[in-house]
Symmetry: C2
Subunit: 394 residues, 2 copies
């Protein structure tokens, strides 16, 4: 995994040598000094010094007394997620959601509005920064408490620099230094940027599937992309472009011949615009993915059938992915997944029909649960992991 | 990742609390006590106690004096990989290789012979155990030094139990308790079993690509399978069946229509038997993959063309995998990869033509380097990681 350098000019919130200690407190809840010494094996003097720093920074607080076996009750120490704040910024093709969270990624407040990413980075990031300022101001907390911002963009991002790389639906963004602009605009030293689908996968994994080590999140909206959690960790690949499902070819079979052009990629067959286009070709009035969803929720037969077919095409690709990665769960999100079970029914039909028995034995295919704030949550979790666990590198 | 329980009845070679300490010595070479205290943050008494156990077990030894700044030179401590031995067992459809390695996976000696896995587990594992005994006896080391065995099988394996799961080319092996038989036959308490391609990926990653975090190993032989290293770690998926590429459908395009049956999977088009069959259909005398390789090495045009086409079909699937996983390197091994560059040329033609620019920018597609002992190395590395780093779980 890549070393994040260009995105981070901050002094660490947690000194590297104190991360393990804080990690024990984060995962195992309030503990006494004796329990901490036992679990970390740290020398008493080392433990005391590290705890003093964490307490001085407000990250660790006294959490009342533990049950005592006589004598003075030993004091409990706890991680305080609310000690600092994070900004999570989720940009889609036509929307922006900005959220304020604590260090655990718990969303405290959000602002959402329609905003075209095609307006370019200057205009979009200026508006997003205004929304962020509104959020912090209305929280009553000082700006100094905001220690990082995470951003999800609807296109490929070079994770080490936070710059978009030839994003198809983001004119003007190619190579743009998103972290630098936001560091200036927000006065926050740590800004991390990633593909929005990676962050949706991270958010969904954290909030709903934290005990499942192998998860695939598929977003079906203007584009089609996937976020991969394997072995419990988000996988970005060598250049950070992992999860690009939109531009793969769909394998057809004799009983399911191509219904589009034989050279179409998945996005040309199963994305929101593709399904709307297919409906218009049948004389149905559908301008975009939102119209498709509305028609399907009214059980309009052509829309139901088109979504089911989009699900089958998606499933033809996911059957390969299931054999390859053997995920425990596939979570389907994005605009088209909001149209009820039709899309998922098509996905299941093809995946269960074509993947191997072992790979689908315990496979669950479900709609996303995290809703509108899923991207914000994922962006905050990315920053939180960077601050508390250290930069991803191994 | 799954907790390995059924396969391991051993007391740990390294106590869990001493793993980090030993890990520092393994990765950072000989160090003084002062350096170890500094790097681990351990209390002096804790450090001394843990070192005493490791020294008593022979895993850590004195490695001479460090450069002194006056006074008595501080003693250096080092990990001794040779303290114990491991057995690596690599079973293919028609061969067996058994190797004796040290704790670092360095292969000291091997025995190889033709052996049909279809003869069933009792016969095959009995013969393999004989070969293992020969190796240990000729090493002059006591049997007690052998602390674990790793086994690679040519089919899906449930990693948590070490049992094959409906392996297509291994009649009689379905659900067979391979670890139990080998624990008895070899008198070794730790036996871990995995799919052979996973172990080839692990071996190749360890020996040739240890600084590349995202690697795909593809084996093209009697079957076709992949081993996935993502984020620096072997990924087995939820049931341990990750990497099954042989049974996925091949996506074709208008300029590359299916040359087989439209419902053929990759194995039916590009495996060793499939290529031999295609050649026989043209009147070329090719019984199996070995014949194909021999013909191709003599530059027989039909064989060269058939291998190139197999490479294109494999590439059509790998193009999807590259977009999905964005590996830094694809290593191609197995019988058909021994036939020179023809197979790889076909793979490259399709992958570079169809995958996205970002995913192929720095992608390397190379033949495997580890040769006949690659599977043995990988099997030993699996066991070594289990013994020294602890069971895979996170």
């Amino acid at each position: 995994m890549c070393r994040v350098t260009g995105q981070d000019s901050a002094r660490p919130l947690v000194a590297p040598e104190a991360r393990t200690l804080l990690g024990v407190l984060r995962s195992a809840g309030p503990l006494t000094r004796a329990q901490l010494a036992e679990r970390t094996g740290l020398a008493r003097t080392t433990l005391t010094a590290r705890l003093e720093t964490l307490v001085a920074d407000g990250l660790v607080v006294s959490a009342g007394g533990a049950a005592s076996r006589g004598g003075r009750p030993p004091g409990l120490l706890a991680f305080r997620a609310d000690a600092r704040l994070l900004l999570g910024i989720d940009l889609g093709a036509t929307h922006a959601v900005v959220g304020l969270t604590d260090l655990a990624g718990t969303v405290r407040d959000t602002r959402a509005e329609r905003l075209a990413v095609a307006d370019g980075p200057q205009a979009v990031l200026a508006r997003v920064s205004e929304l962020a300022r509104e959020l912090v101001e209305s929280s009553g907390r000082p700006w100094g408490d905001v220690v990082g911002a995470g951003v999800g963009l609807p296109g490929p991002v070079e994770h080490s620099t936070g710059r978009p790389v030839r994003p198809p639906i983001m004119p003007g963004w190619d190579g743009f230094d998103v972290p630098a602009l936001l560091r200036d605009a927000l006065g926050v030293s740590l800004v991390l940027v990633d593909n929005d689908v990676n962050l949706l996968a991270l958010g969904e994994h954290t909030s709903a599937w934290s005990t499942t080590d192998d998860l695939l999140f598929v977003k079906v909206a203007t584009g089609i992309g996937a976020g991969i959690v394997a072995g419990g960790r988000l996988q970005r690949g060598a250049q950070g472009s992992a999860g690009d499902l939109g531009h793969v070819r769909v394998p057809f079979t004799r009983d399911a011949p191509p219904h589009g052009d034989a050279d179409d990629d998945l996005e040309a067959l199963a994305s929101g615009p593709a399904v709307a286009r297919a409906l218009r070709a049948q004389g149905v009035n559908a301008a975009d993915a939102d119209d498709v969803v509305e028609l399907a929720l009214r059980e309009e037969p052509a829309a139901v059938q088109a979504l089911r077919q989009a699900g089958r095409d998606l499933g033809a690709v996911l059957a390969t992915v299931v054999n390859l990665l053997n995920p425990g769960v596939i979570v389907v999100g994005g605009t088209l997944a909001r149209a009820g079970e039709h899309l998922l029914a098509g996905v299941r039909e093809t995946v269960y029909g074509r993947s191997t028995a072992l790979a689908t034995r315990d496979l669950t295919i479900v709609p996303a649960t995290s809703g509108e704030t899923g991207g914000v949550l994922g962006a905050a979790v990315m920053v939180s992991q960077h601050l508390l666990d250290g930069p991803a590198e191994d």
